[in-house]
Point group: C2
Chain length 154, copies 2
């Protein structure tokens, strides 16, 4: 299984990337179709990846665990430098952006939790007045902008 040539120029095949990144080959195809990762092609039309793709996939997976949709991840990744390999500062910018979103999300969930007991038990679950029904009453007031993933499913 997985008989591979001795890694000629540092380029990885799709199978190797899948194995090392812990995702299915089909997932890599899918990500590529969505513009999340890139590949070159061998003479025989097979995908060849630069090693950096492993970090890209890792970041995609981490971001997904934060609840960020692929489209938003794609957008964020597109802000990475084009020619060169992203450096620590580049990644830092991404993580800072997501950290802010995450902080917001956490604050929202905490507010929700603190209302849960009172609200589900009581008679206030009205569309207009209850904090559990009205996200914005509790979640807003942290200023607008950067609603990357407040599109939960409302």
């Amino acid at each position: 299984m997985m008989r591979m040539k001795k890694n000629p120029v540092q380029l990885l095949s799709v199978g190797e990337v899948a194995a090392r990144a812990g995702v299915a080959v089909s997932t890599l195809h899918f990500y590529e179709s969505k513009g999340l990762i890139e590949s070159m092609r061998s003479e025989g039309n097979q995908r060849r990846y630069a090693r950096g793709v492993l970090r890209h996939v890792a970041v995609i997976k981490a971001a997904q665990r934060l609840g960020i949709p692929l489209a938003a991840i794609a957008e964020a990744l597109s802000s990475l430098p084009d020619g060169r390999t992203p450096n620590a500062a580049d990644w830092k910018r991404l993580s800072a952006r997501w950290k802010a979103e995450l902080d917001e999300r956490i604050a929202g969930l905490i507010a929700l939790r603190d209302h849960l007991d009172g609200c589900i038990g009581c008679g206030c679950l009205s569309v207009a007045a209850c904090p559990l029904r009205n996200p914005d009453d509790i979640l807003a007031k942290q200023g607008p902008g950067a609603h990357l993933f407040r599109r939960d499913r409302a």
Copy 2:
């Protein structure tokens, strides 16, 4: 618009419920098909709801905002008393259950956030070793059981 008879026996039509609960009529059909709510029928085969359905829908919506999938909500709702109208204690039990899940989720997100800076920037984003890649390393250790919605999208 919305010309309704004078509410003969406290039963609500689907349109009334939709308007008051703030959801689409089609959503009520859908919830009913999934066993999340119930209805009686008029002579002419139209849906008639007891007023309690408003609270049910409110609770469903609140639970969804917590990230709980409909199937789990249906299961939780099925634990409500059959004959009588649920009382405050019944709802309390539901909210307690969800609060625990929510606490877990919040803790997980906080752990994630606290690793974000360090991990995305550094070289550690490996499948095997990085806390950002390995949910269970950080998220577990709070004991097993009740993983109602830790099925995020992993």
